[in-house]
Amino acid sequence: MAKTGVKTVKVPLAGNDAAAHAMKQVNPDVVAAYPITPQTELMQAFAQFVADGEVDTELITTESEHSAMSACVGAAAAGARTMTATSANGFALMWEVLYIAASLRLPITMAVVNRALSGPINIHCDHSDSMGARDAGWMQMYAENPQEAYDLWLIAIKAAENHDVLLPAMVMYDGFIISHTMEVVEILPDEAVKEYVGPYKPAYAMLLDEKPFTVGPLDFHDYYFEHKRQEIEGTEHAPAALAEAAAEYAKISGRHYGPLESYRADDADVVMVALGSTAGTARYVVDVLREQGKAAGLMKLRTFRPFPNAEVAGALGNAKCVVVCDRVASFGAFGSPTFMEVRSALYEVPERPLVINYVYGLGGRDTGPDLLEQAFAEGFRVAETGEIKQHVGYLGVR
């Protein structure tokens, strides 16, 4: 039992099963999805819940991810609580409709089981899929382990459906590393989840209200900009909605989720920034380095969109050097996405730290403590000398 008084159970679950369990407890109206490695087991598990009558959900087994997201838009526009999940190429196939879902202000939620985008084709983890859609208008949260995959999806639903926000949200967890790795997950009782997410109340009369209601008209230069500005306003309301949803979640779970999480970073000279499962490895490396007397710290970034600019500046502003790890390459850019965002967030910090970037783990390349220690070592060298030899490096590449 958690300290909250809510009767929970601890069960060993792989990330996909933990996410499927969240879906089952939410019991959404409609799920439209298409299987793809490494998301497949999530979809299979949920299909079994449907087949066994454990949920009231209608599962639309579409012929592609493009149609999956399209059907989600149709269902959500009809007033249904709608969920889906995908990975990599399937995610890329949804691309066009991701933007439409956000622009129609439909609070669809989706698990993205991170996998490297083709080509060359690969089924293992990196963040090239979800990172590419960071400007699509969706909220984006990265989970570190199966527990977070379960928790964050529930929080995402509540924030997405907040009438001040009304934006879709995606929760990421690393393909295979999290999706297929079993850990002990603390599961809330069905009733607690049901009560937490509450019944879905759309903000507007939707398609099935019989009144004439036009969704998705042609919108030219005379109105398009205003509608986009309103969408931006939705993202501006998202941090408060996420904080509110997380605070309520903490009351029933005892687990607190902010947009970022610092570990031994307050007095650290060198702080590493990492997302997803790598944060766990980095935490271990921080402890090792601390034992050696080195002032190392970690900032795990959980919410990537909307980007917690002020919080990042606050969390990293006292460091001498920040080492940003990106499991994605941004071709032709000066550094990868997290690096660019973090560096920009630090611009107005009075004595801003030096920032370096490491691209790592592409296509599922194993990234153990040794590689992160290498990155830290360079961070300490930069902190001591004040000199950056190379802004963007590559960890573990031959």
């Binding site: 059907a71 838009v73 149709g74 269902a75 004439p212």
Partner: protein, 321 residues
């Protein structure tokens, strides 16, 4: 069966003031289909003429709940709406009976949207899909599509000094849809409005997906006078270029047999998109090819509809003689 008089008293749910061209076939089709669909209905429309010209924000011509998502996914989108409806029905949140109608042009149906359509048909959503087939990508300026007939000139397969327009046959989408074994499939044309009305009624009464392929002239692309829209579809049926038929639970049925099947020149010469087939010596061999294709297709259809015995049996009977 609804009479013309009854139709005339129904509320117009596809209203005027839209920006479709005078004489646009798609507008006539949309209006007739909605008149025939009595009761609550949700409409989905693929990107295309019918969508851009009827919902220029903040205006709409649709006095029904309506959704547009993108070009290639109206079938998937409406399948999501229909699924939500079934869930709400099951949960007792809705008691009214709704119909679901998707409109797509030939671009959004024959080509870029074929996959989404096929998936939705296979999944069995209770929805009516109307293809308004104007035989090219008209919204973007008359580009060739999978529905463009052989010999027609379009902006991406133009008639030139060497190439006489499109060289390939159009695909037989109605038969492709029929191969999904859905309860109701039909081909229709707007000049025969009672036939179209009856088909919409049958389609909406079907227990499962239904599909009607409606010939919808675009005089800008076909190059005929705007006032001849219905005349040209009549010629299409009288030359057997566009036969009217329906497939009810797998049974093919012919709905119109011209008293005298007119030569294909009647169809070709009526439209400027075929001008090059006749000018300066023209391309008589291509015209002959088009006629041969039509004759063969027409005979196939008559056989399928039981209007003619199969070829083998006719061959045997010939031998006996």
């Amino acid at each position: 069966m609804t009479t013309l008089k009854q139709l005339s008293h129904r509320e117009e749910r596809f209203t005027g003031g839209h920006r479709l061209c005078a004489g646009c076939g798609a507008a006539i089709v949309a209006r007739q289909v909605l008149l025939a669909a009595d009761g609550p209905v949700v409409v989905g429309t693929a990107t295309g003429c019918l969508e851009v010209a009827t919902t220029l924000y903040p205006y709409t011509s649709w006095k029904v709940p309506w959704i547009h998502n993108a070009f290639e996914n109206v079938a998937a989108t409406i399948s999501g709406v229909e699924t939500a409806y079934r869930v709400f029905k099951e949960k007792g949140k809705i008691d009214k009976e709704f119909h679901f109608i998707a409109f797509g042009g030939d671009g959004g149906t024959y080509d870029i949207g074929l996959q989404a359509l096929s998936g939705a048909l296979e999944r069995g959503h209770k929805m009516l899909y109307i293809c308004y087939d104007n035989q090219a990508y008209m919204n973007t300026g008359i580009q060739r599509s999978g529905a463009t007939p052989k010999g027609a000139s379009t902006t991406t397969a133009p008639a030139g000094k060497v190439i006489p327009g499109k060289l390939q046959r159009r695909k037989d989408l109605t038969a492709i849809v029929a191969a999904h074994h859905i309860p109701y499939v039909a081909q229709a044309a707007p000049h025969n409005f009672m036939d179209l009305t009856r088909k919409v009624e049958k389609a909406l009464a079907a227990d499962g997906p239904s599909f009607i392929n409606v010939l919808a002239p675009c005089h800008r692309g076909w190059r005929h006078a705007p006032e001849d829209t219905l005349k040209v579809t009549r010629i299409a049926t009288n030359t057997s270029f566009w036969p009217l038929y329906e497939i009810i639970d797998g049974e093919w049925k012919l709905n119109y047999k011209p008293r005298k099947k007119l030569p294909i020149e009647e169809w070709l010469k009526f439209q400027g998109r075929y001008d090059h087939l006749f000018k300066d010596g023209g391309h008589p061999e291509l015209v002959a090819e088009i006629q041969a294709d039509i004759d063969r297709d027409w005979e196939d259809l008559l056989i399928r509809c039981g209007e003619l015995p199969p070829r083998e049996r006719r061959d045997e009977e010939e031998k006996k003689k």
